[in-house]
């Protein structure tokens, strides 16, 4: 009799599991998901690069760019070309880069993302203008830069 009531109850009750992918639980606020980076605000301090435990971030500082100035035969500096490479396949989503970024421009995207179909780095190229905060020299103290 008891068994029959359990069977009947289970027959008419909805499933306990979610109907994924139609129904999706939104992630908790602190979830460490995809990393997004607002390149315009970066001051190229390279803290994220030094802190990353797996070397997923590489900031390459290119040569100084020069453009022809208004006066004849003169050039003026137009900043440096910066290439910021981030490899989401190396990244372990620890969130240390987010903690150390002084500009707060690296954030975890608080949504579920679909799986990647191609294995590629995310590369952002931008110029660090001469008027913007100057490029700081890289501190040579490797490894002790996590806190």
């Amino acid at each position: 009799m008891k068994m029959l009531s359990v069977v009947l109850k289970n027959l008419f009750s909805p499933p306990v599991t979610r109907k994924y992918p139609q129904e999706n639980r939104s992630p908790f606020p602190a979830t460490r998901g995809e990393i997004v980076f607002t390149v315009e605000e970066c001051m190229t301090c390279r803290r994220c690069e030094r802190t990353c435990p797996v070397g997923a971030i590489k900031v390459e500082i290119g040569p100084r760019l020069e453009v022809a100035s208004a006066s004849e035969g003169q050039t003026r500096s137009a900043g440096r070309l910066i290439k910021r490479r981030y490899d989401p396949y190396k990244c372990i989503y620890c969130g240390l880069c987010i903690e150390v970024c002084p500009q707060g421009i690296i954030v975890f995207q608080g949504t579920h993302t679909s799986p990647a179909t191609r294995k590629e780095e995310k590369v952002a190229v931008y110029t660090l203008g001469a008027r913007k905060p100057a490029v700081r020299p890289v501190e040579e103290k490797k490894g002790a830069a996590m806190n």
Partner: protein
């Protein structure tokens, strides 16, 4: 009776871990067994010598996918010992919180796999359903379901606020409702008893001689648990180990099933007594000298040893993992058993080859 020798594994022998057992059988009886490992060595210990010591926390966390937090915690504690760092009390309590969450989900995962091992598919699903709730608590508090990454040298990286504590308490209450009937099934079900009772006997003295650890030795009547040392906050929480006297697969299963309750109580206790204050201390120096630390993982005692010379890289890191200590007990448990019991008995030590080979 002619003897037949055949390989059992390494591809998915009851659990998706690459261990091979070379079994020699007479009819249906196992007479000899030789475990063979070495299929997935990853060179993590060497890798830890090449990385700066603070980055190793994340590498050690990946030695095992299930006891992840406790590996990170044990690594941090051994480095802190070597450097003489005092961790703030709140951080010590939070370490217990995440460590016990890891233990809960590891044991629930194992209980599910064990149920699957003797054919109770729906019990497997119920265990994993309860485990989902534990993983949700983990995601809520740390941002990740399994690899919490909250431990760092000097303390922890994340804190719990009042809102989170309230939600966690609510989820723990839900968990109690889910787990109570599951626990009763493991305790009393006749099918489970017939597959585990008196199977895979590991006598008390042999367990000690072979150096078994964790639920394997506690199932043979020894109160042997690294948490009794009182590391992190276990000393202040009044920890008592779970011990069963049966020496068989059933006893080992019951140790784990009861430890889920014990972890549940410890987490509640941590939430009640969580001291206020800092969650980490800044660490600037590099480790110099050597240190050794014992910690209790779901599978048993893990030992971390480190040696540093004042440079950012360690000179040596040695990890003795629990499954490595437990594998020899199969040489005693398996001979004499029926071939059909081999999967269940093998599972009863909860072998984790990922951590054994590192």
């Amino acid at each position: 009776m002619a003897r037949v020798t055949f390989p059992f594994g390494p591809q998915h022998p009851v659990l998706p871990e690459p261990v091979q057992l070379i079994l020699t059988c007479e009819d249906e009886k196992v007479v000899e067994v030789k475990p063979r490992i070495g299929y997935m060595h990853r060179g993590i210990e060497k890798g830890c010598e090449l990385n700066p010591y603070k980055h190793n926390v994340f590498l050690c966390e990946r030695i095992c996918g299930i006891c992840s937090f406790i590996h990170a915690e044990a690594y941090c504690e051994v480095i802190e010992k070597a450097m003489g760092i005092e961790v703030p009390p709140r951080a010590r309590y939070l370490r217990v919180f995440w460590a016990e969450l890891s233990r809960m989900h590891s044991h629930l995962l194992w209980l599910g796999l064990f149920a699957d091992g003797f054919g109770l598919e729906s019990l497997f699903m119920q265990c994993w359903r309860a485990r989902e709730l534990v993983l949700d608590v983990s995601e809520l508090t740390s941002g990740h379901r399994i690899i919490q990454s909250t431990c760092v040298v000097g303390g922890v990286r994340k804190d719990l606020d009042a809102e989170q504590i309230r939600t966690v308490r609510k989820m723990l209450k839900q968990f109690k409702e889910l787990y109570t009937p599951i626990f009763q099934v493991f305790q009393h079900d006749r099918t489970i008893k017939s597959r585990t009772w008196g199977k895979g006997i590991l006598p008390k003295d042999v367990a000690w001689q072979l150096g078994a650890v964790g639920p394997t030795i506690r199932g043979s009547g020894w109160a042997f648990d690294a948490r009794m040392d009182g590391y992190a906050a276990y000393g202040e929480l009044g920890f008592e180990p779970v011990v069963e006297e049966g020496c068989d697969s059933y006893a080992r299963m019951m140790v784990r099933a009861r430890e889920v309750w014990q972890s549940w109580e410890l987490i509640n206790l941590v939430l009640d007594r969580l001291p206020a204050g800092e969650i980490n201390v800044p660490v600037e120096d590099n480790p110099k000298g050597e240190a050794i630390h014992r910690a209790e993982q779901p599978r048993g005692e893990v030992i971390y040893y480190c040696r540093g010379d004042g440079s950012p890289n360690l000179k040596r890191l040695k990890v003795r993992t629990p499954s490595f200590a437990n594998l020899p007990t199969l040489l005693v448990m398996l001979p004499g058993c029926e071939l059909a019991d081999v999967p269940v008995i093998t599972l009863s030590i909860d072998p984790c080859i990922a951590c054994t080979e590192r």
